[in-house]
């Protein structure tokens, strides 16, 4: 029968495990418990890293991808032209829209001749990847820094134009400033 030889240690870092039976003083654990208690006591004075959420929020980087907004131009016209590129780019198929033609007299509402009559994003399907933002040729859709919508029904997570459009900078300037957190 072959006997295995002890392999030679390549480093001197290995330490033999001490398997001595515990002495009486070790068996009543007092010293070790005291050491542990001093460690926990020192934690009383440590800084608490908690962010008390609704009152305090974590500061996000400018590239944070939160809930979507549909943009308007400086004159308050909707930028979206319902080309559908965002819906095509969306890997989660969360975006859908219906296009409509701009009628005479609506030039102050819509920037292009074609616009999105309905525009819906299912926020439960959305994975907040930001590909819609990249796909948009008209700078119409952006991901904001808002997050954590909560609600009781699934339907309420399908955001329509009423939820997505930003306030009109001409007529609702105060709302817009508030939404931007200024």
């Amino acid at each position: 029968m072959q006997t295995f030889q002890k392999m030679q240690a390549l480093t001197n870092r290995a330490k033999a495990v001490d398997r001595k039976p515990m002495t009486f003083l070790e068996r009543i654990y007092l010293w070790n418990i005291l050491k542990g208690m001093l460690i926990t006591f020192s934690h009383i004075f440590k800084k608490k890293p908690t962010i008390r959420f609704p009152e305090q929020t974590r500061t996000f980087s400018p590239v944070f991808r939160g809930l979507h907004v549909l943009n308007r131009d400086e004159e308050g016209r909707e930028r979206c032209t319902a080309c559908g590129l965002c819906a095509v780019a969306c890997p989660a198929e969360a975006i859908t829209m219906e296009a409509a033609e701009r009628l005479p007299g609506e030039e102050n509402l819509y920037r292009e001749e074609k616009y999105a009559a309905r525009y819906e994003i299912n926020m439960l399907r959305c994975i907040f990847c930001g590909l819609c933002e990249e796909a948009c040729p008209k700078d119409a859709i952006y991901l904001s820094e808002t997050f954590t919508p909560t609600n009781f029904t699934r339907e309420s997570f399908i955001y329509g134009k009423d939820n997505l459009l930003i306030p009109n900078p001409k007529t609702e300037a105060a709302d817009l400033a508030k939404a931007k957190g200024m």
Binding site: R27, I28, M37, H43
Partner: protein, 354 residues
């Protein structure tokens, strides 16, 4: 008509005292649950409950409302009366302890001297031991009546643990009693008011008593009866609503009472440290008694913090470690302590001066 010779005012006085002390212990226990969560949070670098009321101070009330409004379930297979009796017994036993603890000196009201102690029984310490052991029945009955093997196992553990540690506790206490020569808690405190606190004479005895008190209260590291990872929930597995609340509450009241006993026996009870209490009485009268109550409560709070600090520091013992510690370490140490104390007392009686 011996009935009419009763001191009726004494009866009323004691009744008021009982109501006040029980309500106070319940209130303190309520806030001990809050303190437990807060201490746990602070030791773990969290802020802890902070939503209910300013600084979360209404949290215990919210917990109480939650407990009351939960559905009260009695399992089909449970032994119904024992199932109900269990938490009641646990609660009663823990509340009964407060009868013999001296909460303060004497107050003079309407030309009557009122002791702030419900009953100065001359075997106060033995009474406490008897009542605390009754508390284990609450756990045992609850665990058995649940008709659930985990609960039964937990209550078996609770019983064996209580027996093992009560032994060492009693032995460590005997050494104190040899020093004080009395079993009455009121007398023990009065002796410490004039002389040194008993902790000076009995440091080892106090250590053993403290460890055993942890075990008696089922606190970590001795909380084997409610070892979640082994026994699901322990003896209160099947309990819900206020019955569960009673068990949890009884644990906290036990903690307060054992803190009060430790403060009274080893740390001078309501004795104001570094001050001659008689002088204080002479100068401010009744206020001195209130200060004494405050001092005792401060000591109790200190002990409760120690209990919690230990709880959130060390993990639970294994069952064999528990038994080894109890029988092979605590009892020999307590016996040693008793022998040394006895020898020193004997030497002193034979006119050895040290």
């Amino acid at each position: 008509m011996t009935l009419l010779t009763l001191d009726w005012i004494l009866l009323i006085e004691k009744l008021v005292l009982i109501v006040v002390i029980i309500l106070a212990s319940l209130g303190i226990a309520l806030y001990t649950t809050f303190a437990e969560r807060k201490v746990a949070a602070i030791l773990q670098d969290r802020p802890g409950p902070s939503r209910a009321g300013p600084y979360g101070l209404l949290q215990p009330l919210a917990d109480g409302v939650k407990m009351f409004t939960k559905e009260d379930i009695i399992p089909n297979a449970a032994s119904k009366w024992l199932f109900i009796l269990g938490p009641g017994l646990a609660m009663t036993a823990s509340l009964m302890t407060c009868a013999v603890i001296p909460w303060g000196g004497t107050i003079e009201l309407f030309h009557r001297k009122i002791d702030l102690q419900i009953a100065d029984v001359n075997i106060g310490i033995l009474y406490i031991f008897a009542v605390v052991s009754m508390g284990i029945y609450g756990i045992m009955i609850g665990g058995w009546a649940s008709n659930n093997k985990f609960s039964l196992m937990a209550s078996l553990r609770a019983a064996s643990q209580a027996i093992s540690y009560e032994l060492a506790m009693g032995l460590s206490l005997i050494a104190v009693l040899m020093v004080t020569n009395t079993l009455s808690l009121g007398e023990i405190v009065k002796q410490q008011q004039t002389g040194w606190w008993n902790i000076v004479y009995q440091p080892l005895g106090f250590l053993i008593f403290f460890i055993c008190a942890l075990a008696e209260c089922n606190r970590t590291p001795f909380d084997l009866p409610e070892a979640e990872n082994e026994l699901n929930f322990g003896y209160h597995q099947e309990y819900s609503s206020m019955k569960l609340g009673f068990y949890l509450f009884a644990e906290y009241i036990n903690m307060i009472m054992s803190s009060a006993v430790m403060a009274s026996v080893y740390f001078g009870g309501y004795d104001i440290p570094f001050v001659d209490d008689a002088h204080v009485y002479a100068s401010i009268g009744n206020w001195a008694a209130l200060i004494q109550v405050g001092v005792l409560l401060a000591k109790v709070v200190g002990f409760i913090f120690l209990f919690m600090w230990i709880r959130w520091t060390i993990p639970r013992f294994r069952y064999d470690q528990l038994m080894n510690l109890g029988w092979k370490s605590m009892i020999p140490l307590a016996l040693f302590n008793m022998l040394v104390t006895g020898a020193l007392i004997l030497l002193r009686m034979n006119h050895w001066h040290f």
